[in-house]
Amino acid sequence: MLLEIKNLQARVEEKEILKGLNFEVKPGEVHAIMGPNGSGKSTLASVLAGKEDYEITGGEVSFNGKDLLEMSPEDRAREGLFLAFQYPVEIPGVSNINFLKAALSEVREYRGLPQLTAKEFLQLVNEKSKLVELDGQLTNRSVNEGFSGGEKKRNEVFQMAMLDPTLAILDETDSGLDIDALRIVANGVNAMRSPERSFVVITHYQRLLDFIVPDYVHVLYKGRIVKSGTKELALELEERGYDWIKEEVEAANAQ
């Protein structure tokens, strides 16, 4: 098991958001997490990545057999957890290339891999930037500064490819993308699918799942996973919305 979440509970300030979430990911699997607004999807992504704003009030998470919640955010990343942010931040004055070089160097050191030479690094940049059709200009510009929405999301996937994670979490990577940009991002992700790498794709819309076809689809509602299925579940949600699921949950709770 790559990722195993048991009864995870988390809150921000006084508000409980995750209320006993269970979820498992095996190597090579692609899971989609869907759900109405405010159900806790982005919180789950942030909690897994180790953002400080959230207080874990219960439950366990193991990643690669290690206690994820005990690890610092940077160690989670080095261990192979990657989060593609919904809103990637800008870091003025820091070139994308230098940023990635510093990150890759720390990640490789942690993983016990030899450091790349300048030439090897540039070859890797060349190869991986092609995956998301990222312009050479963009790799030299400051991190995300002045990037369009689509460029930022492509840059996230490019960074993912560079850092070679075992688990990639895509937090609404499709938001704000037009159909062409969506296809480019999805192609990049698909090119990275392998038996060793898993994905958790968080999205509102079925549209993304036409391009990145998941093995499993889960519905997150009120801080819990309330329904799981295969890709057909996503189509059903697209057609019927979430109300029927809410009703099912309320009915179950009433019993």
Binding site: A49, E74, F85, I91, P92, V94, F99, A103, L104, L163
Partner: protein
Amino acid sequence: MAYEGDELLDSVTSKEYEFGFTTNIETDKAPNGLNEDIIRFISAKKEEPEWLLEWRLEAFRNWQKMTEPEWAHVQYTKPDFQAISYYAAPKKRPKLNSLDEVDPELRRTMERLGISMEEQKRLSGVAVDFVLDSVSVATSFKEKLAELGIIFCSMSEAIKEHPELVKKYLGTVVPRTDNFYAALNSAVFTDGSFCYIPKGVRCPMELSTYFRINEAGTGQFERTLVVADEGAYVSYLEGCTAPQRDENQLHAAVVELVAHKDAEIKYSTVQNWYPGDKDGKGGVFNFVTKRGLCEGNHSKISWTQVETGSAITWKYPSCILKGDHSVGEFYSVAVTNNAQQADTGTKMIHIGRNTSSTIISKGISAGSSNNSYRGLVQINKSADNARNFSQCDSLLMTDHCGAHTFPYIEVKNKSAKVEHEATTSKIGEDQIFYCLQRGLSEEKAISLIVNGYAKEVLNKLPMEFAVEAQKLLAISLEGSVG
């Protein structure tokens, strides 16, 4: 007990001096206090010519009529000028036998700055039993400079060996009456650096106080004079990134630069004096007057500074653009943390025609510190087609620090073009988290973000200085985000 006895003796003798001080050349330390006799004592000790003594006395008389400035955005208890000893024979720091005897915290910082073992020993005063590399380097370095006719020596040496040059330029850029601290410095300065680049000579290496610092400590009233004659070029480095502790609380230096026709002076500073404890106690007061005169046509002076130390910094490296087509530049990064206070900036005085100036100031405030930019751009009537571009950015690391900008713009010529841009931003927890999520440590993350912010200025520093300065910024701001 013997120690207490000495102290008692010391206080008794200095008390006596209050009532009637007579010059005693044999003494190595002047008693506390400042009066004309003390100045005569300093001048005699340094075997100075009569004109310089008169010059000092004149400065002292002016100083007595002046009051300590209060306009800076800093708060401190004013120094008691009668409680300071204004002359002590160049003191040798206690020699240590190995690096193991050096303050471990200091060593750790030096290691993280990437300072070599040899350099660490030199900076912390460890005795070295073989010929120190830097000494031999310094010797061959001096020979090479001499061949080109470049004079680079201590101010004391210059006064003895090149009195005509010192007399010609001393006080021409920062007059003795300029301001309270400059007047004080003029009266009591004990040493400093002197540099003269002759006509048409391009100094082939960065001149650094590094090569002189072994000879004697520069003291608290440092005087520096750099002259680039027609068509000459020099890049001058002052200070170092290693933390410097000093028992003198008050530092009032004066730096004067003169660039003749077609000459260029690039003056870079890294200042890392002891900032005091978390409450600012015991830190250095750094009250410096730095000014450059672009005397000739097509001359250029550029100041680059990285200021991370001192409890209080009061410093405005300025350019007087007298020659037509002369250029003045000011690039600054000022970091304040804990209780540090900095009021720093520049003055660009446009007098000649077609003169231009650029100001890039990057303030970084952390802890409960206060960081102010204060700058004057003055375009005189005679300065046709003058240009200025100013950019003043402030970066806040916490919710309880302060950043302030006081730009003054005076334009008396209609053909002038003056641009001013200012921004204030807070370092984002989101930015740091983004870096952490890519596997970077928090230290590395802050270093990247802050260095990215200060990049335009750091790029102006000579290469190896820039690398150390980048690390210094990160270390100065460690654990300061909140």
